[in-house]
């Protein structure tokens, strides 16, 4: 039986791993390559690298780091951040990425997902959506969660999946950084709407939050988190052992 994936996310800026709480206030954690190897050895099922660099120098540094990581880490790598064109897909796939995650790039250019899926296959294209409740409605936010696009989130996700997005990362801005658990209500709405893998992001604070996630929503395929892994609050080996004890299929 397919196992539930545990995915640490590394936000990379100027060659270093950072993590924003509610997307504000960055703090340095470690070297991306060292951290990626560490997570792979600890049993992470996949890694996400987000490039949050704005400059072209930083972008070059990011692809160098990605290349180095792909030479040493042999689990799937998803890359996101600054993906606006098919050329950006090409750039990171050549450096060893397996999947490419699009967020603002798809909002700016809604045909990007379809073009990329045609060239690289649906399995290569991941939609990442930053979602926040506004007056009781799930809305898609752009620019790292700062700008309300006004788009209704479930319709947006359905449209992107229809265009060829092979997986969806649902990042709840409402629960991100709060560490009180994943946004079950939001994830449920997404799981009901699409039939591609759904990756839950935002809100994990402890092992029990992952157990609740997978037990409550069997259609969720993976849990993604950053700082709780980076700061050792949740050890991946402990998390997976607890998943196994709860009969949640996991790769030990």
């Amino acid at each position: 039986m397919i196992t539930k994936r545990i995915i640490p996310c590394l936000d990379v800026k100027n060659g270093r791993v950072v993590k924003g709480v509610n997307f504000e206030g960055l703090s340095d954690v470690s070297s991306p390559i060292t951290l990626a190897k560490f997570y792979s050895d600890c049993g992470a099922d996949e890694l996400v690298f987000y490039d949050i660099t704005a400059s072209s120098d930083g972008r070059k540094l990011f692809t160098d780091i990605l290349t180095q990581t792909a030479k040493e880490v042999f689990i799937p790598l998803t890359v996101g951040g600054g993906i606006n064109t098919v050329a950006d897909f090409d750039r990171v796939l050549k450096c060893g990425a397996d999947k490419v995650s699009v967020n603002s790039g798809a909002i700016k250019n809604p045909s990007l997902i379809g073009e990329a899926a045609k060239l690289y296959g649906d399995q290569c294209v991941v939609l990442s959506a930053d979602i926040k409740r506004v007056d009781g409605v799930f809305r898609v936010f752009a620019k790292g969660g700062r700008e309300n696009t006004g788009m209704e989130a479930i319709e947006w996700i359905k449209r992107c999946v229809g265009n060829g997005a092979g997986e969806v990362v649902v990042n709840s801005i409402d629960t991100d950084g709060v560490k009180k658990g994943f946004d079950i209500e939001m994830l449920q709405a997404v799981c009901d709407a699409v039939n591609v893998p759904v990756i839950a992001s935002g809100g994990a604070g402890k092992i029990g939050d992952f157990i609740t996630l997978f037990n409550t929503l069997p259609k969720v395929d993976a849990g993604l988190a950053a700082s709780i892994f980076h700061f050792g609050e949740v050890k991946i080996s402990d998390l997976k052992a607890e998943m196994a004890r709860n009969n949640i299929p996991t790769r030990l």
Binding site: M1, T3, F74, G96
Partner: protein, 208 residues
Amino acid sequence: MVAIVDYGVGNLFSLKSSLLAIGADVVVTCDKDVLKSADSIILPGVGAFEDAARKLNESGLDSVIIDLAASGKLLLGICLGMQLLFEKSYEYGEHKGLGLIKGSVKPIRDVVDNELKIPHIGWNPLIFKKENPLFSKIHNGDCVYFVHSYYADNCEESVIATAEYGAELTAAVANKNVFGCQFHPEKSGNVGLLILKAFVELKENEIC
């Protein structure tokens, strides 16, 4: 020396890196003479069957691979590279494969219910069906990483491992010196590296 067949399909960076990581002497090539001189050959592949089969045919590499396999050369197909080893595929039509392993490639959707997500993507435990030197360094139940929407069918004789995903899907096959993995060993962590290591350490004359 292990040669990765470069026929313009997909990205070979990770595969090459994983072979270097296990200390293999590796070359990426489309040169027939280099393939002939290699101890073993890996046929990779991602994307569509028809496109890949056409590229192999246009480059003339299909007959080279068929001849080398017939001569006993060790050959490992990975993902679409495994599917190409079969007689034919029903991916968007009907297309001829290399015919090195009996069987055909069909949509997973044909054998699983509509609720199940396609592609089959993620880590899934291997269920061993036969002893095989490819698995000499790993264990029954070890997880490997899959990404595919089509599976090999009617190949009972050559199946050495399956994985459960709504149905029991072919995960690995072997026919004497010809091997195939539906999953990606180069993305399957240590287990994957151990499978690749077992393959590159095989000797032609040890395979009966």
